[in-house]
Symmetry: C2
């Protein structure tokens, strides 16, 4: 499903908005391990993954922690940097060769001005980010490592299958060894 269709599913857009969007979306291609965004830069794009897989992670004293993992038909951006226009503390990297569609912060704002009904879709995308963050907090605070794994397995089995184990582990808030043992059923 291309980006425009995905947005349409969130909230209907006028034909004019659809046309305008189609002319203002960029298509980009990344190779496995390419960085889409480097920590310290402002994230100027809302990305949408057509194929492949990418993730956002940040550096702590002694390890990289994965914040989110996005696959086909998922949005991907450094949310806080994108909305606040401040430097991102997270980097975004591709876990596979990845094709994305991207729309810049400026273009989105032009879209809002030209087609006010598009604000609703924009808000829905960003709210979705917020509620995912909330869910993640609740999951880390109250679920056991195995429950967190099982939930991800049910909801996003493509991540379990395709993302690197180390990334999945830090995303789920556990050590790689623990994830490996859970996976082995021990």
């Amino acid at each position: 499903m291309p980006l425009v269709e995905k947005i349409q599913n969130l909230s209907a857009l006028s034909p004019g908005a659809v046309d305008w969007l189609k002319n203002n979306i960029e298509a980009l291609s990344f190779k496995k391990n390419d960085l889409i965004l480097k920590e310290g830069k402002v994230c100027n794009y809302l990305y949408y993954i057509k194929s492949g897989m990418a993730g956002g992670y940040y550096q702590t004293k002694d390890q990289e922690i994965c914040n989110w993992i996005a696959a086909e038909n998922d949005f991907a951006t450094s949310y806080y940097s994108f909305i606040s226009r401040e430097a991102s503390y997270e980097s975004i990297a591709c876990f596979e060769n990845t094709e994305v569609q991207a729309i810049s912060y400026e273009k989105i704002n032009t879209l809002y001005k030209l087609f006010p009904e598009s604000e609703r879709a924009g808000r829905l995308i960003l709210e979705d980010y917020y509620s995912r963050l909330e869910e993640r907090l609740i999951s880390i605070q109250f679920k056991s490592a195995k429950e967190r794994y099982d939930t991800l397995f049910e909801k996003r089995s493509e991540i379990i299958k395709r993302a690197p184990l180390g990334r999945i582990a830090t995303y789920l808030g556990m050590k790689q060894e623990t994830l490996s043992r859970i996976r082995a059923g021990k």
Copy 2:
């Protein structure tokens, strides 16, 4: 510091916007243990605490988990419900007798229409909520119970002093017994 001044500190408002705000803010008084918002209702107000203390919490299978605690000069609302217009999963209760100023969702939107420069302040308030949530996730995921307590003690000692221990414990993601032992220095 009254609400209007607090907002001015975030982002300057025109004299017209300030006047309009002053005429459209409600002042409300709550007693200790009063509910400001009941779980299941849409949160229609952005509250601002003039005196007292309140907190947001939600019910799990076997306990109430505190999401946030706000004191004098803090904003307080059920963020997700307020922005999405959906039922709140959290309740807001007063931990002390509490005086608040409140502005409704509708009035805020009128303000935005009448005085577009006010959008910036609105966005800053909401971004602040998002980044607090992020900080909390990171803290729960990577800091020990004692470190989490110490951080709260440094940053918000009024909470440590005045909020009920059980609320502080669930807010910090630990058991009350653990918090009590940390406090006793054991």
